[in-house]
């Protein structure tokens, strides 16, 4: 016996006794072995009490040996890596593992919240709906916080998860879920046929029940067949076995979700490795060999620690050489439960009694009982005497009415088996009831999926192998592989006889859903109150909503509901099955999309140059844009921005505007095409000219704007706003491909091809003359306002030059191939040095556009019409275009619409803020006089005050009117004047000069 491991057998099991491991549970040190789970190690150390229940804080032990565990939940690891609600039954033991019980205070053994048990008569299902209503304000203040504190299970870490996750894709012909005999047979057949196979196994060791149940396959002991089969699968190049990987969901088109616990068996992931990986597996076919889950029988005291599922009991003994009890009683209603007796006897454990609910027990088992010297009692367990430290005595109601008592320190229970119908039902399938096994089995499955073996209700070893092999072979064939699969492995089928038994009447709480403390009487109460639908039952009692998703409780619960409501089980039906099959860490779904890598980042061609200049960057969609360029001594952003604006207005500045969407529009019908997507006309635009365009959605609202230039007869260069670049391309492709296929038009995004800079200010031409080849005529005549053409720059490279202005100044935009963008910025600084050139950011750009009354994002809100924006006259009446008809609807041309207007505070010292509402002067603000709002603001160096644009009812008719800017959020209220939105150079002389 290993040190302290009082309940460890001296030999046997699949643990590695040469690799002892130390671990701590609730602060106490224990030891176990490599190959243990936390649960098996705790059992080996004689620990029976591991948790407290949700509502009544009842002492709980370990019920199962798998991911269906409702009781043995712990907080695993510490600090930032603390994982609440971790199932001890699936947590692999590693050196230094630390775990703590949860939902108890101050300690697991002495939990003061177990006082809740005293109130149990009141805390029945749904009690909270009937009370806590008075006084009205007390819910949030008193009752709810108390309930919230009491509820919940483990504690989340509360700090950022330090581990990494990633996501990956896999593709295969045949995906197999589960590596028990059926799954292995399926993988073998499919692999031999030449198919690409992925076999997912939740456990860290493949084999499923072969790891604990024994048996003979092809004349070999199960363990030997298993290792031979794994060896053969390893030789097949396209068969991949993924252990520690749970298939949790099935999605459309043969896409499956799986979670791989890559490094959860280590204290922390090795450097550069992830904790877990989310797999999206695309499979032509899927064979579900996910097995079945043994179900409890509901009787009083069935939640006492060391009451355990019979299959779990033998798994601990056979696989882990750990003994949950020394003197075991079995309560079964079926043949399979006896397997636990066989294995326990084989391991030298004592059997106290077998309580068999069936009328008959097989002769073989009778003789086993007499050899083992234990009684076989026909009847049911009606109560358990015991507590925190486990079972002491078991009360038995014998068939015929007599009572008996059995002394034992552990009770194995088998109520039969429920096929794992989750995966097959996730497309809202409803499983069907099979009377002979008294269980639900899959009734159809999502396309391409088939269930085999125990997951399909075939519990015999021979049937599992045969079904798995046949399904694997067929799946490979369906996927186009016809290699020789050979013949299916052969094994005998064990007898399976079962007498359904769900609930044994008795005194004391009999649990259906252990974790949520749902009892048989809660189900009866739900029925009494009309919550008879299984979905109502689930919602009213919370049956099946715990972390085990009802894997051990749902069927028993609905069977009891069926009984009390006088319906059959199939009539009562099941709730909808929902993925994931096991709970999956949220971090895994995110993968590396967190922190700074949450989304991609787009950098402009001059980004690194701007960073060298000390630019402050702002996020604009995915872009990082230079917002302003602070200089030493400037006290705030406003000072920097004001300097940049003044420098442009007084001299020259430049700004990287490469983020604009840019689209090459080619083809003989390019002009005609643009006429249909813009409200104004482009077919008559001369080559070498640019024009501002506005496009609508089909519903008549403005979609986007931008400047489009005609570079050749059949070539336009279209720009979009930064925000809509991708969407406009999509829209134009729709128009081109779907609506107007008769036109010869080709579209290409060239957004990333060109680094584009706006150069603005009265000295723009001086600067350009330095950098543009002297042969190019940049005079007002040679390159007039709205001119556009290719030019050559000094040093030989070609650029596109557009005489357009967003700032209202004499301005050009210049495009160079993107890899020259960095050089362009540096060269503009060089060329502009004599003129005091100033790089400016998006803030200064925004100031100048507001001063100029240009619309931008806040005005292009998707609810404004061209007329609202003051651009109604651009709408051609001579042609059809997208949005034309709907733009004419009565509410869109109503005279009282909110339209763009300029706004300036009457008190010139006052700051104007976006989002303030416009109320007629002298009126009390209310829904009836809320006439609009401020959309964009800036401090205008040229006006020497804050100015803005707004959308205001009948605004254009009201210029000069003093109204009220109402901003209760910021406690501000002040007079503003509605004015012409063009604050700067309204005649436009500067930009044309």
């Amino acid at each position: 016996m290993a040190g302290g491991q009082t309940n460890r057998l001296d030999s046997g099991g699949l643990i590695d006794r040469s690799a002892p491991l130390n671990f701590r549970f609730d602060g106490k040190t224990f030891s176990g072995f490599q190959g243990d789970t936390l649960a098996s190690a705790l059992i080996a150390n004689g620990v029976k009490l591991v948790g407290r229940s949700f509502k009544y804080h009842r002492p709980r032990g370990i019920l199962t040996a798998g991911s269906e565990e409702p009781n043995a939940l712990v907080e695993l690891r510490t600090g930032a890596r603390r994982e609440p609600n971790t199932k001890a039954t699936t947590a692999e033991l590693y050196e230094g593992l630390e775990a703590a019980s949860q939902n108890r205070w101050p300690s697991l053994r002495h939990d003061v919240m177990s006082v809740n048990q005293l109130f149990a008569p009141i805390f029945v299902a749904g009690f909270y709906y009937k009370t806590f209503m008075w006084p009205a304000k007390f819910w949030e203040a008193v009752y709810e916080p108390a309930i919230r504190r009491a509820a919940g299970l483990g504690r989340a870490a509360g700090v950022a998860d330090p581990d990494h996750y990633d996501k990956a894709w896999a593709h295969c012909d045949v995906l197999v879920a589960g590596s028990g005999p059926a799954g292995l047979a399926a993988a073998l057949a499919a692999g031999r046929s030449g198919a690409r196979v992925i076999l997912c196994e939740e456990d860290f060791s493949p084999g499923g029940r072969l790891l604990s149940d024994g048996g003979t396959i092809e004349g070999l002991p199960a363990a030997e067949w298993l290792s031979r089969t794994l060896a053969e699968l390893a030789t097949l190049p396209d068969v991949r076995i993924m252990t520690r990987t749970t298939l949790f969901g099935v999605y459309d088109g043969g896409t499956y979700g799986a979670i791989e616990r890559v490094n959860d068996h280590l204290p922390s992931p090795p450097e550069h490795q992830v904790r877990q990986r989310l797999w999206r597996i695309v499979a032509r076919r899927c064979v579900v060999a996910a097995g079945a889950i043994e179900r409890p029988i509901v009787f009083a005291g069935n939640d006492t620690p060391s009451v355990m599922m019979a299959s779990a009991m033998r798994t601990y003994v056979a696989r882990y050489a750990a003994t949950p009890a020394k003197r075991i009683a079995l309560f079964t209603n079926n043949e399979d439960g006896w397997r636990t007796v066989e294995i326990a006897l084989g391991a030298g454990l004592q059997i106290a009694a077998v309580i068999d609910a069936r009328p008959d027990v097989s002769p073989a088992h009778r003789s086993l009982a007499s050899k083992g010297g234990f009684p076989v009692l026909h009847g049911s367990v009606s109560g358990v005497d015991g507590g925190k430290d486990g079972v002491k005595k078991i009360a038995v109601s014998l068939t015929g009415g007599a009572r008996a008592e059995v002394e034992a320190d552990g009770l194995a229970v088998s109520g039969g088996w429920n096929p794992a119908v989750g995966l097959t039902s996730y497309h809202r399938g409803r499983p069907k009831w099979l009377d002979d096994i008294a269980a639900f089995v899959p009734d159809g499955a999502p396309p391409g999926m088939v269930a085999v073996g125990a997951a399909n209700g075939a519990f015999g070893l021979g049937a599992c192998l045969a079904q798995g092999f046949a399904a694997g072979s067929a799946a490979a064939h369906d996927a186009g592989h016809s290699g020789k699969a050979g013949t299916a492995p052969v094994a005998d089928d064990e007898a399976f006889s079962l007498t359904p038994l769900w609930h044994v009447a008795g005194k004391g709480k009999a649990f259906v859903d252990y974790q949520h403390d749902v009892t048989a009487s809660d189900i009866e109460l739900a029925q009494r109150e009309g919550f008879e639908s299984v979905e109502h039952l689930k919602r009213y009692t919370t049956l099946g909503m715990a972390t085990d998703q009802g894997k051990t409780s749902n069927v028993a619960g609905l069977a009891i509901m069926a009984a009390v409501s006088g319906r059959s089980i199939p009539e009562t039906g099941t709730t909808i099955y929902r993925p994931p099959y096991v709970p999956v860490a949220i971090g895994a779904f995110a993968g590396h999309h967190r922190d700074e890598t949450f989304h991609a980042t787009r950098l402009t061609p001059s980004h690194h140059w701007a960073a060298e200049q000390g630019a402050v960057f702002v996020d604009t969609g995915l872009w990082k844009r230079a917002q302003w360029y602070p200089r030493a001594g400037e006290k705030d952003w406003l000072e920097s921005v004001t300097r940049e604006v003044s420098a442009v207005r007084g001299g020259v500045g430049f700004c990287d505007v490469s983020t604009l969407g840019k689209i090459d529009v080619h083809g003989a019908d390019a002009g005609a095409f643009l006429d249909r997507v813009y409200i104004n006309t482009f077919s008559n635009l001369a080559v070498g000219k640019a024009r501002y365009g506005l496009m609508l959605r089909e519903d008549g609202m403005v979609y986007d704007d931008g400047t489009t230039s005609r570079l050749a007869e059949d070539h336009y260069f279209l720009t979009t706003t930064t925000a809509k670049a991708g969407l406009v391309m999509q829209h134009l492709e729709f128009c081109r491909q779907v609506l107007f296929p008769e036109l010869d038009v080709q579209l290409t995004s060239v957004s990333d091809q060109w680094a584009q800079f706006s150069i603005a200010g009265p000295k723009t031409r001086d600067l350009l003359k330095e950098i543009v080849d002297p042969a190019e005529d940049l005079s007002n005549e040679g390159f007039p306002f709205m001119g556009a053409r290719e030019v050559r720059l000094r040093g030989g490279i070609k650029a596109r030059l557009f005489r357009i202005s967003f700032s209202g100044e004499m301005a050009f935009e210049i495009s160079v191939p993107a890899r020259f963008g960095d050089a362009m910025a540096r060269n503009l600084m060089l060329a502009g040095a004599p003129f005091g050139v100033t790089p400016y950011g998006t803030e200064a750009l925004g100031v100048m556009r507001v001063e100029k009354g240009h619309i931008a994002g806040p005005e292009l809100s998707g609810t404004t019409t061209a007329a609202d924006l003051g651009l109604g006259k651009m709408m051609s009446t001579k042609k059809d275009f997208i949005g034309r008809v709907m733009a004419g609807r009565e509410a869109l041309v109503a005279p009282d619409r909110q339209v763009v207007v300029g706004i300036k505070p009457v008190d010139k010292a006052r700051r104007l803020r976006s989002g303030a509402h416009i109320i007629p002067k002298g009126q009390t603000p209310g829904p009836g006089n809320d006439q609009g709002y401020v959309t964009s603001v800036c401090f205008s160096p040229t006006s020497d005050q804050w100015i803005g644009l707004g959308l205001v009812e009948r605004g254009r008719e009201r210029m000069g009117e003093i109204v009220h800017a109402h901003d209760p959020l910021r406690g501000e209220d002040y007079d503003v004047e509605l004015c012409n939105p063009v604050f700067y150079d309204p005649d436009g002389g500067r930009q044309r000069g």
Binding site: Y251, D252, G253, G254, T255, R280, V282, H427, P447, E698, D699, G726, Q730, E733, F734, Q737, V738, L739, F740, P741, E742, K879, D880, V885, M886, G888, R889
Partner: protein, 91 residues
Amino acid sequence: MRIVCPFCGERELGEFTYLGDAKPVRPAAGASEDEVFDYVYLRDNVAGETSEYWYHGGGCRTWLKIARNTLTHEISSVEPAAGAGAAKVGA
């Protein structure tokens, strides 16, 4: 969901953008407000087989017309949408 693009082959849902029902046809120039209203706003919104526009923007940038069942998400055909929404001459 996986969509078999007629040009690219089978691809992941994330490469595609959904637009909507491919049944409405854009009325020809000169159509009445009522006709255009119907085109822009009213939908059969079928529970079952429908024909829809999807854009393979994350791939070959083709607009596709896809027959899909809105109850099961099963796709029965995918074809280029070229011209599918165009007003027919004289319509």
